[in-house]
Symmetry: C2
Subunit: 219 residues, 2 copies
DNA sequence: CGCACACGTTGTACGTCGTACAGTTGTGGG
DNA sequence: CCCACAACTGTACGACGTACAACGTGTGCG
């Protein structure tokens, strides 16, 4: 594709990999493909990254670094918590193929540490002890990531996989179930196949999480 | 390893793959490895499964089928909902390496359909409309799965990866952060590295989810 | 009793992946 | 000018999923 202008840089590779993942899914992000995309030999990648896993570390860090944390402000703790979760969500939503990488990588780089620190701080304000704040905070961040990775758009890339046709097919399958046994599935079929990726889905479930924290705290 | 006694069966392969994933992680579950484990040629697998993806479908279905759904009983909807989420959690906790497979496969086989139907039914009882029940129900099941996949035990298999040493190292790293910037991370360091996989973590966050549903419903 | 045939399995081969190891260049500071 | 070192190339290996065709074998029918 593109011949490199002067030199290759770690950041350029990460940007390229991010674009590639957005366009064709995470499985398209391959050492060889990235090299080709930059007009370079596969082994050239290993100058900038120790191995593929550290490339993925870099991708996750870059993704988490794009979170626009709101100022520590003065609102209620629950409003601030929602704002942080929404900021996190907004950052990862454009990159559903990469979101899963962050699941086990939040605490490995500085941007994730800042995010986690803010979340823990608010949970402490809400009355949680250090251990419970750790447990709830860990889950909250993982849950936000899960909101994004379930997106069916992440599966569109596979050899021209037609996502729309797939969804139509799935909905038809649900509505063809035995009405006696699965009335709710049939009634909810359109929403079940399309809800992920829709604004409603994100707002109602972020709400659920914040309400859950309110209902779980000790004071 | 093991020579097959008489013949190979789809179920035997799935059981073998499950055990393999539990022992060495999902990345050890490979067509060739499975064949070798059963004293058979790799291509023999393709008689029982179309391709690797349908093998993974089978693994996910088998996992979801192991959920011991409580009887539709007569308690409050929130108690019943918790019971179902706990049943789901209990089924997938022994197999953290496989849990992630279920994320996008709940609605593809019968056991997942039954689980989803029950969840939707209870959400309708709680006052949600069909669309909202679909959105919340989808998220609830994904969230329970997320509780399990974050487990650090899933990363132990890689070439003799010493999970305990890894956790000690991570905790030391957290506690070595600048105290001025990351006080909460430092205070919660022990819990942050060990909370996943502990009973507290699961119960408090299942609680959070149920409380969240209560706080989000319309009536 | 024997034979055909489908079921289950084998053998070989191809293309892709990550990456080890050693060699080669281009460029900037002495 | 030159040379050291950062950046990159070339070749090779083993593992992966799997296409395709050939092979053995147990079972049911004549």
């Amino acid at each position: 594709m593109a011949k490199r202008s002067v030199r290759l840089s770690r950041d350029a590779i990460i940007d390229c990999a991010t674009a590639l993942a957005d366009a064709e899914g995470l499985e398209a992000v391959t050492i060889r493909r990235l090299a080709q995309e930059n007009g370079v030999t596969p082994m050239a990648m290993y100058w900038h990254f120790n191995d593929k896993d550290s490339l993925l570390d870099g991708l996750a860090e870059h993704l988490i670094a794009s979170v626009k944390l709101p100022e520590p402000g003065d609102g209620m703790w629950d409003e601030q918590l929602r704002a942080i979760l929404v900021a996190f969500l907004d950052a990862i939503r454009p990159h559903p193929a990469l979101a899963g990488l962050a699941l086990r990588r939040i605490l490995v780089a500085e941007p994730g540490l800042r995010l986690a620190e803010r979340v823990l701080d608010l949970l402490r304000q809400a009355g949680f002890g250090p251990e419970q704040a750790a447990e709830v905070g860990t889950f909250l961040m993982c849950a936000v990531i899960t909101l994004v990775v379930g997106d069916p758009m992440a599966a569109k890339a596979a050899v021209g996989g037609d996502a729309a046709a797939d969804m139509r097919h799935k909905q038809a399958m649900l509505q063809a179930l035995e009405p006696g046994r699965y009335p709710n599935l049939i009634a909810a079929a359109p929403a079940l196949v399309s809800c992920r990726g829709q604004d409603d889905y994100f707002t109602i479930n972020i709400d659920l999480l914040v309400q859950g924290v309110r209902g779980t705290r000790r004071n």
